[in-house]
Amino acid sequence: MTLRNFPVVRLAVRIGRVGIAVYVAAVAVAAAGCGGGGSEPKDVVLVTHDSFAVSKPVKQAFERESGLELKILQGGDANEVLNRALLTAGDPQGDVVFGIDDSVLSRAIDGDLLDEYRSPELSALQPDFANPDAHVTPVDHGEVCLNVDRGWFASHDVPRPTTLDDLILDRYRNLLVVENPATSSPGLAFLLATVARYGDPGWETYWRALRANGVRVVDGWEEAYTQQFSGASGSPGKRPIVVSYASSPAAEVIFAATPPATAPTAAVEDGCYRQVEYAGVLRGAHNEDGARKLIDFMLSKRFQADVPGSMFVYPVRAGVPLPEPFVKHAIVPRDPLQLPAAAVDANRDRWVARWTDIVVR
Amino acid sequence: MSLALEGIDVVIDGRPILDDVSLEVGTGERLALLGPSGSGKSTALRVTAGLQRPTAGRVVLDGADVTAIPPHRRGIGLVFQDAALFPHRDVAGNVGFGPRVAHLPHAQRDARVTQALELVGLAGMERRDVTTLSGGEAQRVALARALVLEPGVLLLDEPLGALDGPLRQRLQDDLRELFERLSLTVVHVTHDVGEAFALGDRVAVLRAGRVAQVATPEELWARPVDDWVARFLGMRNVVPDGDRANVIRPEAVRIVPGAGAVVVAADRDGPVVRLRVRRDDGRELEAVLVGGAVPRVGDRTAVEVDPAGLVEVEVWRGGAQEASDATSH
């Protein structure tokens, strides 16, 4: 038996060969990926955040209709997506960016990273959304709302909170968990909601009271909702009030092993903050035409109807029916809080820093 | 195959290890490279094998300059001190290593391994794990490993160094017999005078990186080149006298009944007894006796010196290297 018959040696030699093959393949793929500089692009690349989702049939419908492969690059939250787009402004990673929300909208427009585009579908949107800035197209809106654990309040014989003001009452001591606005998008929305409600700097007083009343701050929504909030199914959490979305109760029903008749949680209509999510054509896109087709598609009935089930946000197109669990268990807040994008952009960093001083330090 | 080192210098980190070393070994000749530790004898071996590049000089094999040829293409066999067997291979794997890397056909390899193991007296040990071998067995495997490719020159670095007693003697005898049978060209490094004399047709004495003397064992014993060499060979009757020194070989000192001296030491080594006597004039002499009845310490005796055993040699003024560093066991 020679040494080369040893499994380890054979393995190592083979691994070495595979490694080199992978190199070659990687470079070849890269070269092939952009070899045809002048020819017609065959794909369109969407750059978006972690929460983006689309069901497979809808994605395939777009690919069939447009003849383009839809490649999706996702990572980070809305803020990070915008920052990456700003970093590569003019030489973008993809063709369309989706997920810019009000809190970063003015930075996106000032950052000169988007081409103007007015989709013909805009006319079909609900009146609230039909007249956006020329650089962006609204695609959905989400509502950041307080969620409560119905069961907990029923069994503890405590009335559920119904307003922001309630949260500083003694009977809700140590019951609330929120996300850090410095690191979380719903966390920031909730901070903005309190600014919209109590004014600047009135919100500071409110948060001091929240702190005194035992609010818990965690880094992100995952931690807050699935680990700290007692109402999420399977959660080890002990706090019955959390900052989440208006649609979360519907999700609890849709994703339950055996869907219950009533949702175990409920959204609180007061204090909801509206986040509109926009898409835009990236300046310098390889496939501008495909980018416009994709944006048109995102406003189509088919995509809009898919939005609640995939991303748990609400469509902006008029007359798109909501899935049944949304109608039964979720709310669409009638009068959500909102701040002007410019005000948010001008003050966001200062508010977050101030909030950190008041609540965390 | 004949071997020559021509004017070899080796300087490592600015320190001269070998200084103008020239040696010649004829085909079928066995040269013992004798010297105390640090004299550069192992380095000379490494230069020959190609493991150490000389700073200057040439290594010549059968008239061809091989100085620039890497070790794996020199065709020289080397047996390391402590054997240096490959721990992950069994005996056959070690011995068969050379044929394998030379891509010899399987059948030929196996035959060679068997043959080499027979040669060193380890027939049938092919499947033994080398970590379970005794010191002597390990050294024999190392020897078989070096011999299996029938090298033109065989180099041995202290092959008996780690062994003791009868085992050492037996391997020494076996080696001599083997070298003669195979008519091998051998360079054999040792610090042991007895081993050098037993295995070398000629002995080269190395001192502080230079060759002090090259001669047959008989010549070396009869006419050491200087007082240092005489002392290194184990002679104690060395009396410096200006630029010259007088050496009396111990076998030329006879102990006869009478007076004029007293026995101060008597060390038996088998049949041989080394006596040290102090003459009344204060001079000490060493004598070698054979047999059972010898004087004891404190006995008074007379001393005679056979003039044939008297040699006048030069005095070495080389400095640092002490002959007594590594005198024979």
Binding site: V18, G19, I72, G234, S248, A257, V360, R361 | G77
Partner: protein, 529 residues
Amino acid sequence: MDRHRRALSAAGRAAAVVLPVAFLAVFFAWPLGAILERSLLVDGRLDVPFDVLTDPTTRDVVWFTLWQATVSTTLTLAAGLPLAWALSRFRFPGRSVVEALVLVPFVLPTVVVATAFAALLPDGVERSVWAILLAHVFFNVAVVVRVVGAFWAGLDQRLWEAAATLGASPGDRRLRLTVPLLAPALASAASIVFLFCFTSFGVILILGGPRYATLETEIYNEAARLFDLRTAAALGLLQLAAVAAAVLVAGRLERRLGGARRRGDAARRPVGGERVAVGVVVLGSLALLALPPVALVLRSLQVGTGYGVDHFTSLVQETPALLVAPWHAVLNSLLFSAAATAIALAVGIPAAVAVASGRRGLDVALMLPLGASAALLGFGFLLAFDDPPLDLRSSPAIVPLAQALVALPFVVRSLVPALRAVDARLREAAAVLGATPAQVRREIELPLLARPLAVAAGLAFAVSLGEFGATVFVVRADWPTVPVAIFRFLGRPGEDNVGTAMALCVVLMALVAAVALASERALVRGRPR
């Protein structure tokens, strides 16, 4: 023919250096340079952000980073050494299983481990520096067990026997013999663990809560969230310098302490009191290591108020959370990790050879990717790989490359001490017997290094499987890996999503354990006898 061969072996020697250097240059130095240029060059002039470096906030962050990394490393060594001892010195039933299980924590995505810890720890401890330290120990204990254990197994048992006959008490022997002999491996393991803790990200964010910030979390914050590239770059350079210094110190320690002669695997059955000691150490360590994974397994089986395998069956179903069914993520992960392991070995083996033969600069350079902020490097990728032939920004090929960059230091770290410990005379003996340098490498070094190589491959595979920070930055939505899929599921409300995430965690754990076990088995079968 001869000249041809010599040219080849010279080319081989050159490749040992060129390949790793080229890899680092293209996939590390270039993107990093691109982002630094963008951040610190203002109108063609260097804007040195001294103000950031002297800021008191920076000082606090640096202090906390150093402090937690040092304490975590010390605790990890203390926790890992007994197990390394038991696994490397003794043979007992299930030893290879235990060795494989130890790797599992190492590959779990941070978010999963942090979640498991948060669920296990009592309320007060949950969001404290203790939680951070504990999680770091849990994560990194595998490094100590693997790196130190592989070295320990090769040490000559007779040294202890000699010490015993010289009158050394067991305590003496540990202090005066074991520790100095193990020192190279200890330095090696400690430097990896230190770097890991120093650059820790997810654990700090989730378990530390918003109060604790390390350099890595600050860089991420400044770059990805606040888009203050100047501050991020300044902190990034600071972190890189600190990591380079730590690597240099560790390398110096490792060299000064030297390697002990190896004599194959010296493990034996424990006898007498040793049996109790080994039993306590192995079972105790297992119990602690198993706690979080067991919690995950239970959680993955929890359906409504009862138990079932529903979350596992949903792995084959389409889901709105991903563009593909979850089991595709498992395939992707295996594929990417295999490729990443192959690249890491292909680059790492020659690199380790070069490092072991004295190219210390390369050693430091190879460790640096561990010290670079993933956020900065990710930004650098976006800037650098935008042109043919390396337009990798939307190519799946970039994933194994990024993972290999992270796995590379592990390969080199586990190979270098073993390479240094290979007796030089064995190489010489082989050379004199006619083996070319390549044959020496293949026939002598490789088999002697089989165990450390398996360790290296296992670690590389595990690291690639669990890698999240870099992967999520570059992976395409239709090619998710398991950690990325877990992250996507955890990011969505509803029992099914959480359950599927937990099921994927369990699959990931099983995968790593299986791979580690298989490589261990192949190794045992590969031994002569």
